[in-house]
Every structure is written in structure tokens, then in C-alpha cells.
């Protein structure tokens, strides 16, 4: 892998998949008759909530960590992350046996902080805004000299996330559409890279909370628009795109669909009740969008990316009234 600031190619995805396979799960694809009936579509849920560290982020982080030469790796890795990327980097660093520091908003779910520490990494807290996160992180890197693995604006990370859509396409067969939640856009970018190569006719949708609609507004405007500290239950989706993810999203995404907080909670409860899986609010955003946009998906085979399963079980949206 060359410069992490140059857009990856599909050859990078193939190399990433070979590199990370010993350390990640090939996650199952689940279906649900009730949700098919409600949506009028055939929904194929790629369950990255079952992934190592509880989220798809293990793919990109593991690819980045195992791409490092030994001398660089010895100085460790560091990142800022609203949660799952931090856990994933901690997991990958633990598997390689190198140090890892993670800057996280102090408001992140306790389960996510515990998970980072559980893999042997260090948590450094910041305020829940993009500006605070970046300032605190700059101090960390200046001190340790660690390799910065950005949560999404990094070619190694995007190539890793791209292996998720690769497995989905290989295991599920032809798909009319794929839909994933969008925060910084790493998973969506990886999906664009994979599907534009393997299945150019598959339409790629992103789904986003209306309360954090920066990606939607960016796509309409034709340039990146950022939010600072938006409020949404989908805490993994508060960040905004950067150059590398904008590169893929602006070229390949058919539309970015918006849903309300209530629609996110309703979709999350439906998945828990009917599919019997534990997943986090961010992962419910695509189903909410599919149910809200019936005519866009009815009669089609649709891949739905369930991105993660890390929630505080004693602070669920339908019990903590």
C-alpha cells in the first residue's frame, strides 16, 4: 500500500482481504420474512455487528495496522473516533502487539470505552465536537510519534472497509441496490470501490439521520459541507466526510436518504424484535430509509449493511425514557 492519502484501487481491496482474513470474521448474511413483507423488497442483511470488536471497523483498522513496516509499527498507532474505529484499532494493535492510543468523546457509550481498554489500548477523552477531538488528538501524536490511522480518510482504511461489500456480493449474489449508513463515509466509499468494480449496475445508497445531514447536503451542493457537534441517537454518524471519502461518494452514490430520530428507533426495535440481533442505532438508519422509501426498493434485492452492535444495554432508547 502506497500513500494513505491517495484513493485506493480494487487491487488494494484484494490485498487488504488477503491481509486481514486471519483476523476478521466472514460475517453471516441474515434474512427476515417480516421485514421483507414490510419493505416489499428482498433484504440481505450483512451482519457486521458480529464482526471482531463488534463492528465493520475491524476491517479497515486491521488492514492499516498490518500494512505497517516493523519500524513504524513499533512506535504504535493512534486515532480519534466516536467509538467503533477506536475499538477496532485497539483490537488490531492488540493482535499485532503494538501500542495504541484512542481519543474519544467523553459522551461515548461506556461499552465502547470499556471495549477499547479491554483490548489493551489507552483511552484519552475529549469534548463531543470535531474541533475538540482534532485538537486533543494533535497533542497525542506530537507526544508519541504514533502512526495516525484516521477513522475513514485513509486509503488503507477504505480498502479494508471495501472487503465488506466484497463478501456481501460474493455470498449473496446479484444485488439491485446496497444501502449503508454514512458518517465520515468510509464504509460507503469502500462499497463504492468494490461495487463499481464487481457490479457496476448495483445502485449504492447512503442513509443518514436528518439531524446530522451533512453528507446529504454535501451531495446536493457538490462539495463537502461539515456539521460541528450534531445531535442524533446514531452516535457513529456525527462526523463529516473528508477528501478521500468525498472522492468515492460524489462519484458513485445514487442518493443519500434522510430519516428522523423516531424512525431510527422504530427500525432498531424492529430489527431487535424480529431478527433477534443486538445492533446499534447507527445500524438501523438504512432499514429506516428502506421502509420510508418503499417505491425505491420494492421488488428488488437489496443488501443492507448492519454496521455494528456496540450499545450500552442498560441505556436502550426504548427504556431510558
Amino acid at each position: 500500500m502506497s500513500d494513505p492519502q491517495v484513493p485506493p484501487t480494487y487491487d488494494d481491496v484484494l490485498a487488504a482481504h488477503a491481509r486481514i482474513q486471519p483476523y476478521i470474521h466472514r460475517t453471516p448474511i441474515l434474512t427476515c420474512a417480516t421485514l421483507d413483507r414490510m419493505s416489499g423488497a428482498e433484504l440481505l442483511f450483512k451482519c457486521e455487528n458480529f464482526q471482531k470488536g463488534g463492528a465493520f471497523k475491524a476491517r479497515g483498522a486491521t488492514n492499516a495496522v498490518f500494512s505497517l513496516d516493523d519500524a513504524t509499527a513499533a512506535k504504535g498507532v493512534a486515532t480519534h473516533s466516536s467509538g467503533n474505529h477506536g475499538t477496532a484499532l485497539a483490537y488490531a494493535a492488540g493482535r499485532r502487539g503494538i501500542p495504541c492510543e484512542v481519543v474519544m468523546p467523553r459522551t461515548s457509550p461506556q461499552a465502547k470505552k470499556d471495549a477499547v481498554r479491554g483490548y489493551g489500548a489507552t483511552v484519552i477523552e475529549c469534548e463531543p465536537s470535531t474541533s475538540s477531538r482534532e485538537a486533543v488528538f494533535a497533542e497525542v501524536v506530537a507526544r508519541s510519534g504514533a502512526d495516525f490511522v484516521h477513522p475513514f480518510n485513509d486509503a488503507r482504511v477504505i480498502a479494508g472497509q471495501a472487503t465488506c461489500a466484497k463478501e456481501l456480493f460474493e455470498d449473496a449474489g446479484p444485488l439491485d441496490a446496497v444501502i449503508a449508513p454514512i458518517g465520515g463515509g468510509g464504509l460507503v466509499s469502500g462499497s463504492c470501490l468494490t461495487l463499481s468494480t464487481l457490479s457496476p449496475t448495483t445502485r449504492i445508497y447512503a442513509a443518514e439521520p436528518a439531524n446530522a445531514d451533512d453528507a446529504h447536503r454535501s451531495l446536493k451542493a457538490g462539495h463537502i459541507i461539515t456539521d460541528d457537534a450534531p445531535q442524533t441517537i446514531a452516535d457513529g454518524l456525527k462526523v463529516s466526510m473528508k477528501e478521500l471519502t468525498w472522492h468515492f461518494v460524489s462519484r458513485h452514490v445514487a442518493d443519500i436518504l434522510l430519516v428522523s430520530e423516531e424512525e431510527i428507533v422504530a427500525a432498531m426495535m424492529l430489527i431487535w424484535k424480529r431478527m433477534k440481533i443486538v445492533m446499534e442505532p447507527s445500524s438501523a438508519v438504512p432499514l429506516a430509509a428502506v421502509l420510508k422509501n418503499h417505491d425505491l426498493f420494492a421488488g428488488q434485492r437489496v443488501g443492507v449493511l448492519i454496521t455494528g452492535g456496540n450499545v450500552d444495554l442498560d441505556r436502550l432508547p426504548w427504556t431510558s425514557a
Copy 2:
């Protein structure tokens, strides 16, 4: 299938599997590195929480319903059930298009009552004791003439439940032990029938709440001992064995392991947190027993039956303090 009061044979299991396959899921087997580390064993979780109707009970109920000749089927089916068997019979009757009445304790989780009604069957409430349930049920059958599909003391049901261990053995390969929760003993009996045929060296354990330890005491005493209205969070395990299940349990079960209510809740939370699956308290009893009896299972390949996933999500044991 002949008399439902004569113990089924393995030929009945083969016939059942062929009969029910169009209507049930071949559920996945999940593994979890964290739980392997905690137990010292290799645990293979057969996930019947993903089964139709949310529990393994769909297997036995579907076998019973599709075993009926047309004339008998036309009069419908009826049962009493603390929950999942009622849902399963409702599901199976709905697939065959025949009437179904289910007598349920009024204290059953709302989610289970809703599920029965959702499949088009009728719920008739009774008090939460074995005696009340049997009295109310006698009235129902006298009125409708429906075929009684007992939740477990029925050869058709046991042969159906036996397909669960058959799939586990076929998909997981050799197993040193299998452990399942025991209430009336239908799933354990089916597991005995299958494993004593396919893998006689596999040890079969049952796990039971200490608060409802009738099966444990029965095995020690050498005859059936019943409880009336025991109190446990594992609401699917309150019933006692009857002749047919005692037939299998008394011959094939190595031991019945007891766990406390606190151990059940802790195991349930572990499974939700680490495996990211939604399952009910009864299904956590086997893992609680494995963790409590480390030396019995360490170093072995152990099949663990996750029996169901039907819980009221707004009344979880760790939130409804």
C-alpha cells in the same frame, strides 16, 4: 407417525426433518472467542432464537401439525404453553391454514401473546400454575374437538425437536458434550434420541434454574417430581417432565446442572454483549451452567442450545430494577 404417546424412534426424526424442512430455518451455529476464553471450552451455539417464531419449538409443532390427516387437521389444533410452544403451534397452523387455540398464563410476556395472535391463532388466558392451565385447557378441547399438541409430552413434538441436535451434529462435527435448558424436557429428549443414535459418546447435560429444580430432583430420585408455580426469570422452564420426556431423560442425561437467578441474568447479559444476539433468560441457563462447572467442560467441544429469543424488550432484567 403412530401413537403420540409412544416414544419416537430415530426413523421418526428422519421423517420429521424431511416433513418440516420447508417451514423451518436451518439455524446458524455461532462461536465467541470471549466465551471460549471464559469457559476454557470450545462452545458451539446453535441459535434457535433465529428460528421461525423465535424458538426451537417451531420444529416440534410443525412436525405435529403436518403429521395430521386432512380430516383431523380441519378441526384445528390446541395447546397450553408458557409461551414459545404456543407461538410455534400458531405459526405451524397458520402455514397449514387450520384453526389454533392457545391457553397461556396471563403473566406470559406481552411479546409472546402478541406473537401467537400475529400468526392468526386465539389466546385464552389462565393463571400461572400447572393446575390452572390444565383445567382451562380441558374446557377448550371439550368445546372445539381440536387435536391436542402437548408442548413436550408428544412423540411428534419430541421427534421434531430432535432435528435441532441433528443439524448441530451435522454442521458442527464431533462434540464431547451438548447442553440444553430443561423445562418439560422436549428439547433434551429430542437431543437424547438424536445423539444416542448418531453420537453415543457425546455426553448430554441439561441445565435448570435452582428455583425450578424439579428435573434435577427427579433425576436424583429416579422418578418424576413436579413443582407447581415455581418462580424464576427463565419463564420457559417452569413446567415439569412427563412420561415421554422422562423416558429419554432418565436413560440418557449425564447430569442436570443448577444455576441461580443471578447467574442466569449474568450469562444472558454476557451473550447479548459479546455475541450480539437477542435471546431469552431460559436460553442463558446452559451457558450459566457451563461457566459454573468449569472443570466439567474445559478443553472440550461443547454444543450449547440457544433455545429462543422472545423477550419483552422494554422489560429486560437489567433495566426493570
